[in-house]
């Protein structure tokens, strides 16, 4: 089982905060790994917020392959952070030899937003293919102001290994989405651990997607970035990306795509023509099964919603400086013990709850 959590804060926070959010929920998430995406970075990345940051776990040979590719494609390296691990004995971690977080400058003649978005995706996909073929590593994200870390093992030990307990101000962000489990349904594959990332969209999911096969068969031909499918939760991300980035529809329509209203309810609505058209055109992106998702959007907003039968819960709570979303309320109690609990939100099956950059929480009913 998964447990998912996220923090959105006005003040940059350390990853340890996310760990404190997740660890009380360990009975549900089995402690088999740790993965997080940090967005809106500060600390050592403060000066490079507009420059794409590559997040990579690889061997030495893999690092060479990546350097070679980036050089030949005119990416200029600006900064690099290679964590120096704390290799204590008996840590439960299946570590890769190198973890590289590197900022690059865009190649020349790549000025428009769209061009850059496509270039960054193509580059990540190319690096992924190179590393996959060679069996020398994993590339998780390549995007400005976004850092991804994923590893297999006990989350506490992973944190020790990467010195994430040392709140030294080096690695901080205003948005963190995290999860503490490797994929235990199928093979352990690093790419299968959520959060997943694509062109500014980050998503993790708790639950099952019983329409995985339908989703996958459809998404495969929708976009070149929809690959992997190591986990049924990737479908949620790809649909989010497709609805918002490709179709450019407003966020509330994402909910209409993944959990469309029953026909009987659609018929009662003024916008039935549009809702019906969406339901029939994107029937293959509907999600069934018990699930909850947390997603981060390119503009920094964070959102959550759950399946249409509310079979998996999620709770959102916070104060003036920090709002967090968590599978279980015990996570919130750990990091936000003094919040007004009466204001906690348990989203219902027809809601999208969005936290904007001012920490204002909006609830949209489908």
């Amino acid at each position: 089982m998964c447990r998912i959590g996220s923090i959105k804060s006005k003040v940059p926070v350390h990853p340890s905060k996310a760990l404190h959010l997740m660890l009380p929920q360990q009975e549900g998430h089995d402690n088999s790994g740790f993965a997080m995406v940090m967005q809106d970075l500060y600390g050592i990345f403060s000066n490079y917020k507009d420059k794409p940051l590559l997040s990579l776990a690889c061997t030495q040979a893999g690092a060479h392959l990546v350097e070679e590719y980036m050089d030949s494609h005119n990416f200029l390296q600006l900064a690099e952070w290679i964590p120096v691990p704390d290799k204590k004995p008996d840590l439960d971690i299946q570590a890769m030899p190198y973890y590289i977080f590197r900022n690059y400058d865009y190649p020349e003649h790549c000025d428009s937003k769209e061009e850059r978005e496509e270039l960054l995706l193509d580059t990540r996909l190319a690096l992924r293919e190179i590393l996959d073929c060679a069996g020398e590593g994993y590339v998780y994200s390549f995007w400005p102001d976004v850092l991804t870390l994923k590893e297999i093992g006990d989350p506490r030990d992973i944190a020790t290994y990467f010195r994430l307990w040392d709140d030294n101000g080096c690695l901080v962000a205003k948005n963190i989405i995290a999860q503490c489990r490797q994929n235990t349904n199928y093979d352990i594959v690093r790419y299968a651990a959520h959060p997943f990332f694509l062109q500014g969209y980050t998503l993790c999911a708790n639950g099952e997607n019983t329409f995985y096969t339908k989703n996958k068969e459809f998404q495969k031909s929708l976009h070149r970035g929809y690959i992997g499918f190591e986990s049924d939760s990737q479908n949620f991300l790809y649909t989010l990306h497709y609805v918002l980035h490709e179709l450019k529809w407003p966020l509330p329509y994402y909910k209409h795509v993944i959990t469309p209203l029953p026909f009987a309810e659609i018929d009662q609505r003024e916008d039935r023509e549009v809702l019906k058209a969406i339901r029939q055109s994107l029937a293959n992106l509907e999600i069934n099964g018990p699930n909850t998702i947390i997603a981060g959007l390119p503009d920094g907003r964070m959102m959550t919603c759950c399946d249409s039968k509310k079979l998996r819960p999620v709770v959102l709570g916070g104060d003036d400086t920090m709002v967090a979303i968590s599978s279980e309320v015990c996570g919130l109690n750990e990091i936000l013990p003094h919040r007004d609990m009466t204001k906690d939100i348990y989203p219902n099956e027809r809601e999208i709850v969005v936290i904007d950059n001012e920490l204002e929480v909006k609830r949209w009913k489908q």
Binding site: T210, T213, E217, E273, I278, Q280, S281, A283, N284, N288
Partner: protein, 543 residues
């Protein structure tokens, strides 16, 4: 001793042999009266008996004449095994018995190809029974509750556009439809298949139509019924209920004179138009209505004289799919102002995928559904050689078409409906569910409906006499005396009850795989214990 004439037909040459127990027979004559085929007749048999009636043995030999029921040794009057005699007999004195040594197939070709109704009797294998719903939600993804949860059991009928082709515009953060899109109706995934007035008796057709209307009006299930080739009663064409009917146009265009004349008087649009190119029971052959069944009202509806009505194998003037799209689809769409889905029905064939690809790539985007009819579909009349030796199974064909669409990312744009043998064993919901998991949006069925009305025919050679005008159940005949055997209301009720159970059973299958809407293309929900089937369909092999 009589000379044996081996070329003469004997009772033991026939497919069914009547077993008559004279000792139980009360000579009421009901069996003879009920047999529509004239297969039995009362005769007087000479019997020789010896009886002792005194206290001491005093055998007395007598010759008596006894009236008995005898089977007629005539191929044209061969017993069809319908069992009406058995039904009416008060004393269980008579019943037909299947004759494994029948020579009928060999001997009955004196007057050209053998004609009959029903299904293929040779290719009745059941692929669907080798497939099991094997992906059951346990532990992490709990099954739904078939009783408590809501399920959206609907299928699109009409041309679905890709999301990026939808003419949407944005106003105040809301999407609005800027232009008209092709009509799409969300209907129940079980369509009552095309059986014409003519093939069916008016009462049988009325019973099916009644069930269809009842399911819509009273049960909230938007079931659609195809008219079959042969038109519809004008009263129905001009009624509100027309919206539940899909009007069929086939190569004979029978009934369209009346339909066109009724158009200005229609108060609602029909539920759809179905262009029938071919049917699974007799692919490459047109519709066939024997003169015996072209009664006065059939002549009136179709605008024809009393004669055998053989529709051409093709729509005249149609020689390519492109032409079909331009001429037939466009004119049918235009006829109802582009407000009514126009679908096409073809016999399953080795070429079905090509046809489907062409339809999917049609730039006009006006094909609203692809109905594929498999070899196990039924018919009111066909040459037996077509029924038994031509056609294509439906299960893999639906899968092939679905996967062809998946390959192009076009799945769901032209809804797929599969038919031909759905519910052959009585389990239509399980059949439908498996077809849907393999990629069908819905299924259509016809034979099972008339079986619910009372048809006793099966694919083991029982009855199959729909073509003769002598249907013993009053379903496939226009003989007013026979038609009265059918109780329209009870028949309709039987269909309604079956469909309501079908709906419950679908839920019982959707719940364990955790789906509240139809699992179209969810092949991962199926497993097969047959390796060849698993490989062909791309589902998991289990043992």
């Amino acid at each position: 001793m009589e000379t044996i004439k081996v070329q003469d037909i004997a009772v033991n040459d026939l497919p069914w042999v009547i077993e008559h127990h004279a000792d139980r027979c009360t000579l009421c004559g009901s069996c003879v009266a009920s047999c529509t085929f004239g297969s039995i007749k009362p005769v007087v048999e000479r019997q020789s008996i010896t009886v002792s009636q005194a206290n001491q043995p005093t055998p007395l030999h007598r010759r008596i004449a006894v009236p008995i029921i005898q089977q007629v040794a005539d191929l044209a009057k061969a017993c069809r095994g319908c069992g009406m005699c058995e039904r009416v007999c008060p004393n269980q004195a008579i019943h037909p018995r299947r004759n494994p040594d029948s020579r009928k197939t060999l001997l009955s070709r004196d007057n050209g190809p053998v004609k009959r109704g029903g299904r293929t009797n040779l290719n009745a294998q059941r692929t669907l029974d080798n497939i099991v719903v094997g992906r059951i939600s346990q532990m992490t993804d709990p099954s739904l509750d078939a009783q408590r949860h809501t399920f959206d059991i609907r299928a699109p009928f009409g041309r679905v556009l890709a999301a990026n082709e939808l003419p949407l515009k944005m106003e105040n953060g809301k999407l609005l439809m800027a232009k008209k899109t092709p009509p799409v109706q969300w209907i129940y995934p079980l369509i009552f298949s095309d059986m014409s007035i003519g093939a069916l008796s008016t009462r049988a057709w009325e019973a099916v139509a009644l069930a269809c209307a009842y399911l819509n009006e009273k049960c909230g299930l938007p079931v659609r019924m195809s008219s079959g080739e042969g038109g519809m009663p004008v009263k129905l064409l001009e009624s509100e209920y027309l919206k539940y009917f899909i009007i069929q146009i086939a190569s004979g265009h029978f009934g369209w004179n009346r339909i066109i004349k009724a158009m200005p008087h229609m108060v609602t649009d029909p539920g759809g138009v179905l262009i029938k190119i071919g049917q699974g029971a007799k692919p490459g052959d047109g519709g066939l209505l024997q003169a015996e069944k072209v009664a006065e009202h059939v002549q009136a509806i179709r605008g024809v004289p009393k004669a055998t009505l053989a529709s051409p194998p093709n729509h005249q003037g149609l020689y390519s799919i492109e032409e079909s799209v331009q001429k037939m689809h466009l004119s049918m769409n235009a006829a109802f102002g582009f407000r009514v889905p126009v679908a096409i029905k073809c016999a399953a064939s080795a070429t079905s995928v090509s046809v489907y690809n062409n339809l999917l790539r049609d730039p006009y985007k006006i094909c609203g559904g692809f109905f594929i009819d498999g070899i196990q579909g039924g018919t009111g009349a066909a040459n037996e050689v077509s029924l038994d030796h031509t056609g294509h199974p439906i299960v893999s064909k639906i899968r092939d078409c679905y996967l062809a669409a998946v390959k192009q990312g076009l799945q769901g744009q032209i809804p797929l409906f599969g038919g031909g043998g759905i519910g052959m064993t009585g389990n239509a919901a399980a059949d439908a569910f498996k077809m849907i998991c393999l990629g069908a949006n819905g299924v259509f069925c016809g034979k099972i409906l008339i079986q619910l009305l009372g048809c006793v025919g099966n694919e083991k050679g029982r009855c199959n006499s729909c073509n003769t005008g002598k249907c013993p159940t009053g379903i496939c005949t226009q003989d007013p005396r026979l038609v009265k055997r059918l109780d329209v209301d009870r028949g309709a009720q039987k269909i309604v009850d079956y469909v309501l159970t079908f709906d419950q059973e679908l839920r019982k299958l959707m719940a364990p795989i955790g789906n509240s809407s139809l699992p179209v293309g969810r092949s991962d929900a199926l497993v097969s214990t047959d390796k060849a089937i698993a490989d062909k369909l791309g589902i998991q092999y289990v043992c």
